[in-house]
Structure formats: structure tokens, C-alpha cells
């Protein structure tokens, strides 16, 4: 399943870091952060509940870029 979330991030490099962090989160199959449209597209592994996985994604992203915002 694929879902798109609105995000707020200031620098392009931080967006890259967030993308990497999201990809490494358990339950995430693939993730793309689009800095230009301020969107994060997450593809979840089968049988994973997006809400739970996203909590961890937010945590991981906050770790690499404390200033970022992900609107669930």
C-alpha cells in the first residue's frame, strides 16, 4: 500500500536524510521524499498497519532532522 503525507522541511539535504531514515524503518518497503512538493510517499510492506509504522517513521525522521514536520 502506498500513502502520501504532507511534510515540512527546510533544506534539500535534510529531505534526503529523512528519505533514508524512512527507508530504514521497519515495515516500510520504499519511501520517497519530494522536497519540491513537500511530500513524503511511503510504500508499506504487506500486512503492516500504516498508522503504527508511521509513528516510527516520524521518530526516525526527527532524529536526523529535528526541525522536520510530518502531517499524519
Amino acid at each position: 500500500m502506498k500513502k502520501s503525507y504532507k511534510i515540512e522541511v527546510d533544506c534539500a539535504n535534510c529531505a534526503n536524510l529523512m528519505e533514508e531514515a524512512a527507508r530504514k524503518t521497519a515495515g516500510v518497503q520504499a519511501a520517497t521524499v519530494n522536497f519540491m512538493t513537500q511530500k513524503m510517499i511511503v510504500e508499506f510492506e504487506e500486512g503492516q498497519a500504516p498508522a503504527g509504522v508511521m509513528q516510527n517513521v516520524v521518530k526516525a525522521c526527527k532524529k536526523v532532522e529535528p526541525d522536520c514536520e510530518i502531517y499524519l
Binding site: 515540512e8 527546510d10 533544506c11 534539500a12 539535504n13 534526503n16 536524510l17 520517497t32 519530494n34 522536497f35 519540491m36 512538493t37 513537500q38 511530500k39 510517499i41 532524529k63 536526523v64 529535528p66 526541525d67
Partner: protein
């Protein structure tokens, strides 16, 4: 002297911050809350720094021994105001194992300079000012990028805000998402068509510029299908929706363009890989710069180690090294390029495809629907014994009862209402044609078999297509050629591609060799392969793919109908005439919104311009950076130059990136 310049700069920064704060208080400024807070901090820190500068060291000296520490405290407060978030982020970065980022660089550089200043009870100004200017640069970067991001998005914004639904005789504005299939919506002049549908009432002219980039108006009337995203120009239209908003053309296009920059190009990958290696490398280089030369001087040459000089140079080195200009401008260039292309009616599904497009050297075309109209029309009348129009009129009337496509083509060429009362005794001879009485004359219209059957001498035609021989009252009256018509811009399109550096143009078709050869020689296509089944087309493209050299890419252009496998197999698939065809939008990497093959060369030129800008930015940003780093290491530049090099290059790169948006004159 330097102090005067710095003071003037500080005044300028303070004024600028105040003015920007004023602009930011307007509701449509687009400044985020974060940016406004940062502006206040910049303003506060600048004013305090200026005050401390004007007071100067002597004022504190009057306080006696404590003066030195009071002065230090004042500067530290200022440093905290402007730099506390950087310190916090650097600390968090270290704790989370993300040591080497720009926050870390800035924190180390300014804290180092501060420590040197405390040690010497000297110039605190430099450390704080560097932090201040870095923050100013960051602020402009975030503002400029945010602003250009919004500008580009606005340009591409064809999203309709509402749909009008008539309830109890009154128009009501509703969210287009909430309109079910089969509802009747009203579109007034000047409004966007929000959802795909059929016109049930009214007629009007539509402006399709937002979709195709051409402002050629299109007439619609009752019964016509209409696609969302067009602007209604003249009359009120009532439309019965045939799709939900989410499935409508406008939503699909928006979705596609918005997600396009998520597919990253090789250049973008290169930059993110580069940034990952670059920052740690610079940190180690700075460390080496701080330690190695003094040690060499000390032990190797027996001179004084001059630790302060080398530590200072190392810190400056760190300030100058920030990779922001690169990291920001490359995706922005692609984003602007994709935005510019979509303004011209060319949808590119990703930055990577823009990159591939720019390397295209072989273009393979499908014939029908791509280079030709794909619609059969009366294309010639030969050996006519009467006026051409009269002959077509007889043919149309004779064939009027037939449901054969040919009869429709004839009726279209005739262009007037068919008066059935003029026709009688219609006799259809299957596989041959029709014999009928029109205005009292016996008219025979059909192929050569019909003529043979009726025993009439006919003249064979050299043209390609369907030939309708005509005989009136038993005498041969000429023949009408019905064939596929080459698009008016096809020839120019092939020429434009050659001018744009395309090495080879190839045409593939399922049609007969004679037809294919004629079209190819008319258009100037280099190679033709005819009588191909869809599977043969894939095989042929594979052969061509095997025959290309080096980095060159092969593009396949089709109309999206039944050539999806080939579109997928080519390096880049271009579908044309996507207005209303979902298949094309799905299958291709690049979608041309209208039928014009000239757009192919335009798309290639747009991609070249965009990639050119990307390379310029990469070269200039890395070049200037390296130059500064060398100058700093050799001691020819100080921290001021470092900050200006960083911010200046970034702003230049962002401005350059915006150029990719302007594609009209390509």
C-alpha cells in the same frame, strides 16, 4: 577599515531584516512562522552586535578587571540569540550519530573562533558575525527556495477549486471531490472545467492552453465529450460527469507532474552521494589543516608552530565547505524544467526521464496516429470527368445508405446534409461497391472489381489508399482516393529533430510496404520497417537498441494505443495526443498533450536546457567551493569571504535553476 565595512554591513542587515519583517506581516507573503521567528532573531542579534561594536572595548575597560568578563558575557548572549539552534542541532546530530552536517561545521567553526577570541581577549565580532551571516544566508535560501517552489507550483496549478451544481434553480459551489458520476454540473464562462464529462446543454469555445500549451480554441456543443482542465471561454455549459474528480484528466495530470520530481535523476543521486562523502572528507581535511602544517613547521623546519593561524584557517575552511548550493539547486533545476515542460504541453514523468530525453539520438516513430492523422480522409480525386465536388457529391449520395466507414468519409468530404430523397434503387454488391440512382443518373461507386463486373474501362491509380472508382450512366468518371493523411507538422518535426542532433529517425508500421515507403520518403525519415505485427515492433526496437553506441538513448513515439509494450521497451517512451487517453498517460514516460509531433523536438530541447543548467550549477558550485578552500588553506582568504562564497554561490545557483522554467522560445 574592515571594522567600518562590517559595521555598514550590520546596519544593512538590520534594515533588511526590519523591512522583511514588514513584508512578512502581510498575509500573502508566504513566509512561514519559522522564517518570521528567525527574522526577529537576526534583527535582535544584529542590533545588539552593533551596540557592542559602537561601545567598543574601552567602555568595558572602564569597569576594571570585571570589564573583560562583562564584555564576554554580552557577546555570549548575542551568540546565543543568533546561534542557539545551530548548537542544539549540532549536539543532537552528534548524539544521533549524524556527526558531520552543516550545523556541526558551523558550530565548530564559530565556537573555535570564539575560543581563540577569549584566549586573546580580542575580536569576538568575527565569530558572531560569521554565525549571523550564515543564518542570514540560510534564511534567504529557505525563503528563495520556498518562493520559487510555490511559483512553479502555481504555474502548474490547473486544479479546479469547485464545481457548480444546480439545486432548486440556484448554483451552488461544491468540492469537486464530492460530485458523483452522472451529476450535471454547470460551467460558466471564465471557469475551469472541473471534471470530465459530456456536454448536455449549451455550446462554447474552450481554451486548452493549460493542458496543451497551445491556445488554439476548441469548439464544443451538445453531445461532445469534454475534459477537465480546459477553460470555458464563451457560453454556459451543462455537463454530465462521466468520471469522478480523482479519475478525471486534470487530477491525473496534476498527480503525475507533482510526483515527477520524486523519480530522481542520476545527477540528483550523484549529488546526494557526493554530499554524503564530501562533508566528512572536508571535516578530516580541516582537522589535517589544523594539525599537520604546525607539526611540520615545528619539528620539520624548526620554526614556531603558529597554532592560531592554522586553527583559524581550518575553521574558515569548515565555513566555506557547506554543500548547500549544490544540494538545493539540482532538484530545483529539475523541478523548474518539469514545470516549464508542462507549461508547453509536455508532461515528463520524472527527473530521470528528463535526463534520458536529453541524450536521445535515435527516435523511432509509430506511423498511424503519430506521423499521420490516423483518420481516413478523401485525399485526392483523379481523372474526374466533372467537377471534383460534384463527383464527391454523387459518391456520398450513392453510398449514403451504407454503414461502411468509407461512406462516412465520403459524407464528411461532401460536408452537407444528405438529401436521401435524391437517391433511389440502391443496390449494394458485397465486396464490390454500390450502384444507385442519383438524380435520375445511374451511379456506380466501388472498387476495380465493380468496374470489371459492370464492364467499364477504368484507370488504375498510382496513389496508396482505398480507391473508389466512379461510373456515371455507364461511363467512367474518375476515382476518389481515401487515405490516411500525414499531419501538417510531421515533416517539420523530423527536420527539427535532425537539427536538434538526432542521428537517426526510424518509422515502424503495420501498414503495407507501399504505403509506408511513400509516407517515409515524403517526410524524410531515414529508415522504414513495414508490415510489422505489434510483437515485431518490439523485436525491431530491440534490434535498434542493440545497435546504438555509447550513451545515446532511443526514444519511441506512439499514440499510446496498442503500442504499450514498445513504449515500455524503449529507453524512453513518448506518447502523444494524450488529451482524454488514459492509456497513453499510463504507459509512457513522457506525454505530449496534443497531437503535434513538433513537440518531440521541443521536449528534447527543454531537457537539454534543463540538464545544461544542472551541469552549470554542479561545475560552478563545486568549482567556486574548491577555489575558496584552496585560497583559505593557503591563507589568502578569511572567514568573511568564506561566508560570502557560500551564500553567494547558493543564490546564484538558485537563480540559475529558475531559468529552466522559461522554455517558450526553445
Amino acid at each position: 577599515m574592515q571594522e567600518l565595512i562590517v559595521n555598514i554591513l550590520l546596519v544593512v542587515v538590520a534594515l533588511l531584516a526590519a523591512v522583511l519583517q514588514g513584508i512578512g506581516s502581510k498575509p500573502d507573503s508566504g513566509m512561514t512562522k519559522k522564517q518570521k521567528v528567525m527574522l526577529w532573531r537576526i534583527l535582535g542579534a544584529t542590533v545588539l552586535l552593533l551596540a557592542l561594536q559602537v561601545l567598543g572595548a574601552p567602555a568595558f575597560a572602564a569597569l576594571g578587571a570585571a570589564g573583560r568578563w562583562v564584555r564576554l558575557a554580552c557577546y555570549l548572549v548575542d551568540y546565543w540569540i543568533i546561534g542557539h539552534d545551530i548548537l542544539r542541532k549540532a549536539y543532537k546530530g552528534i548524539r544521533n550519530g549524524q556527526v558531520f552536517d552543516e550545523n556541526f561545521l558551523m558550530a565548530v567553526a564559530t565556537l573555535g573562533a570564539l575560543a581563540l577570541a577569549i584566549y586573546e581577549n580580542g575580536d569576538y565580532l568575527e565569530s558572531i558575525a560569521v554565525m549571523l551571516f550564515y543564518q542570514v544566508g540560510e534564511w534567504f535560501q529557505s525563503y528563495a527556495v520556498g518562493k520559487s517552489r510555490r511559483n512553479i507550483s502555481d504555474l502548474m496549478d490547473i486544479r479546479p477549486d469547485y464545481a457548480n451544481i444546480e439545486r432548486d434553480g440556484k448554483l451552488e459551489k461544491v468540492d469537486p471531490d464530492e460530485v458523483p458520476i452522472g451529476s450535471v454540473i454547470v460551467v460558466q464562462p471564465g471557469e475551469k472545467v472541473p471534471i470530465d464529462g459530456d456536454v448536455v446543454e449549451g455550446s462554447s469555445t474552450l481554451n486548452t492552453a493549460a493542458l496543451t500549451g497551445e491556445s488554439l480554441p476548441r469548439e464544443v456543443g451538445t453531445g461532445d465529450a469534454i475534459i477537465s482542465g480546459c477553460i470555458n471561454m464563451t457560453g454556459v455549459l451543462k455537463i454530465r460527469t462521466t468520471k469522478e474528480f480523482g479519475e478525471s484528466t486534470v487530477s491525473k495530470i496534476l498527480d503525475l507532474v507533482e510526483n515527477a520530481s520524486s523519480r530522481k535523476s542520476k545527477s540528483e543521486d550523484f549529488i546526494s552521494r557526493f554530499a554524503r562523502i564530501y562533508t566528512p572528507a572536508v571535516c578530516y581535511a580541516a582537522l589535517a589543516l589544523a594539525i599537520l602544517p604546525p607539526l611540520v613547521l615545528w619539528f620539520g623546519l624548526g620554526q614556531s608552530p603558529a597554532w592560531e593561524t592554522w586553527v583559524y584557517r581550518a575553521l574558515t575552511f569548515l565555513v566555506a565547505s557547506c554543500p548547500c548550493a549544490l544540494v538545493i539547486s539540482i532538484p530545483l533545476s529539475f523541478f523548474a524544467g518539469i514545470g516549464g515542460a508542462s507549461k508547453a504541453g509536455v508532461l515528463v514523468k520524472g527527473s530521470n526521464y528528463l535526463e534520458t530525453l536529453s541524450q536521445t539520438r535515435i527516435v523511432v516513430f509509430d506511423k498511424t496516429g503519430t506521423l499521420t492523422q490516423g483518420v481516413f480522409e478523401v485525399n485526392g480525386i483523379h481523372h474526374s470527368a466533372m467537377e471534383n465536388a460534384k463527383l464527391v457529391e454523387y459518391a456520398a449520395l450513392a453510398e449514403s445508405a451504407s454503414s461502411h466507414p468509407i461512406s462516412k468519409n465520403l459524407q464528411k468530404a461532401y460536408g452537407k446534409e444528405i438529401d436521401r430523397s435524391r437517391v433511389s434503387d440502391i443496390q449494394e454488391i458485397s465486396g464490390n461497391g454500390v450502384v444507385a440512382k442519383v438524380d435520375g443518373h445511374t451511379v456506380a461507386a466501388g472498387n476495380d472489381k465493380l468496374m470489371k463486373r459492370l464492364g467499364i474501362d477504368y484507370i488504375n491509380c498510382h496513389s496508396v489508399g482505398t480507391i473508389i472508382h466512379m461510373a456515371i450512366d455507364g461511363r467512367y468518371a474518375g476515382h476518389i482516393v481515401i487515405s490516411d493523411v500525414v499531419k501538417p507538422t510531421s515533416q517539420a518535426a523530423i527536420q527539427a529533430l535532425k537539427n536538434a542532433g538526432v542521428r537517426r529517425t526510424v518509422m515502424l508500421t503495420g501498414d503495407a510496404k507501399r504505403v509506408a515507403d511513400q509516407v517515409a520518403s515524403e517526410l524524410g525519415v531515414d529508415q522504414v520497417y513495414s508490415q510489422l505485427l505489434p510483437a515485431d515492433k518490439v523485436a525491431q526496437v530491440e534490434k535498434l537498441l542493440a545497435g546504438k553506441h555509447g550513451k545515446e538513448k532511443l526514444a519511441f513515439v506512439g499514440d499510446g494505443i496498442n503500442d504499450a509494450p514498445v513504449l515500455g521497451r524503449a529507453d524512453i517512451g513518448i506518447a502523444m495526443g494524450a488529451m482524454g487517453s488514459d492509456a497513453a498517460i499510463e504507459a509512457a514516460d513522457v506525454v505530449l498533450m496534443d497531437d503535434d509531433p513538433l513537440k518531440i523536438s521541443k521536449a528534447i530541447k527543454i531537457s537539454r536546457k534543463c540538464l545544461g543548467i544542472v551541469y552549470q550549477n554542479i561545475v560552478v558550485a563545486i568549482g567556486v567551493k574548491l577555489l575558496c578552500l584552496v585560497l583559505i588553506a593557503l591563507g589568502f582568504a578569511n572567514m568573511w569571504l568564506a561566508v560570502f562564497a557560500d551564500v553567494g554561490v547558493m543564490i546564484l545557483a538558485v537563480l540559475n535553476a529558475i531559468r529552466a522554467l522559461f522554455v517558450r522560445n526553445l
